[in-house]
């Protein structure tokens, strides 16, 4: 958005690549003959628009507003990113299409994603690459919707144990993003302190 700031730490944008690979490996169970090109085009457009809308709303607007107000507080950056990520997690609660376990898992991993994207936005200075990565990530994990049953039908067919196992697995899969995000938030706080001392 702000072209004055240089694009720095570009490598951080590629951290979620391991999730892409994981998502693509899940595609081998899909029946590609059932998928038509037009559906794929609409899904790509939808996923990219979701990436841009969520990034602009949560990182661009809410996060920035919080940072503008509370940046100078002690650990202000960490608090602002955690608050906006919590908001981001809450919004994912309101679809009600994945059962109780699925919904709570979605809140947790959306929170992890929020912390990661919030931190790397501050480290890279560019929101558009993050929105694209967010959209592509959604695409990789929603691609199976084109050839399988609806989410509700899949959830109904699963038992509680398999739902819990799936939830734990998803949480562990996204946990590295949260850790990387927190690590970079600490770096930002340290740099903020140094700048204030000077």
């Amino acid at each position: 958005m702000n072209s004055d700031k240089p694009w720095t730490n570009i490598h951080l944008v590629f951290v979620p690549s391991y999730l892409f690979l994981f998502g693509i490996f899940q595609w081998d169970s899909l029946d590609f003959n059932k998928i038509d090109l037009w559906s794929v085009v609409i899904l790509v457009g939808y996923c990219l628009s979701t990436g841009f809308s969520e990034e602009l709303l949560f990182r661009g607007l809410i996060n920035s507003l919080l940072l503008q107000k509370f940046f100078n507080l002690k650990n202000g950056v960490i608090k602002c990113i955690l608050a906006s990520s919590f908001d981001f997690g809450l919004v994912h609660l309101f679809k009600f299409d994945k059962g109780v376990v699925g919904e709570l898992t979605q809140v947790i991993y959306a929170f992890f994603y929020g912390v990661f994207y919030g931190a790397i936005l501050l480290r890279t200075n560019k929101i558009i690459p993050i929105a694209i990565i967010h959209g592509l990530n959604n695409f990789v994990f929603q691609f199976d919707l084109l050839s399988t049953e609806t989410t509700e039908a899949v959830i109904e067919s699963q038992g509680l144990v398999s739902q819990l196992t799936g939830a734990m697995f998803t949480t562990l899969l996204t946990l590295p993003l949260f850790i990387v995000g927190l690590y970079h938030l600490r770096i930002i706080e340290r740099e903020k302190k140094k700048t204030n001392l000077i």
Partner: protein, 70 residues
């Protein structure tokens, strides 16, 4: 009203607006461009996302947050 309360209220109102936009029914009628129900559903959500993008963009510039939004 304190600064924190104002910010919380603002964030909640943005969330409420986003949820309102998300929860509205399909924008496009069934049979639109001979598309299936799933495609129409995705297309409607895409359209709603575009509305959220536009509103967020306007908000970022109106509140002069572009430096923070990077």
């Amino acid at each position: 009203m304190s600064s924190i309360q104002k910010v919380i209220l603002f964030c909640l109102s943005i969330l409420a607006l986003a949820l309102l936009i998300k929860s509205t029914p399909n924008v496009f009628p069934s049979g639109f461009f001979k598309l299936g129900e799933d495609e129409i559903h995705l297309l409607s959500r895409l359209f709603k996302n575009v509305i959220i993008i536009s509103l967020s963009w306007i908000g970022i510039y109106k509140l002069a947050l572009n430096n923070f939004a990077a």
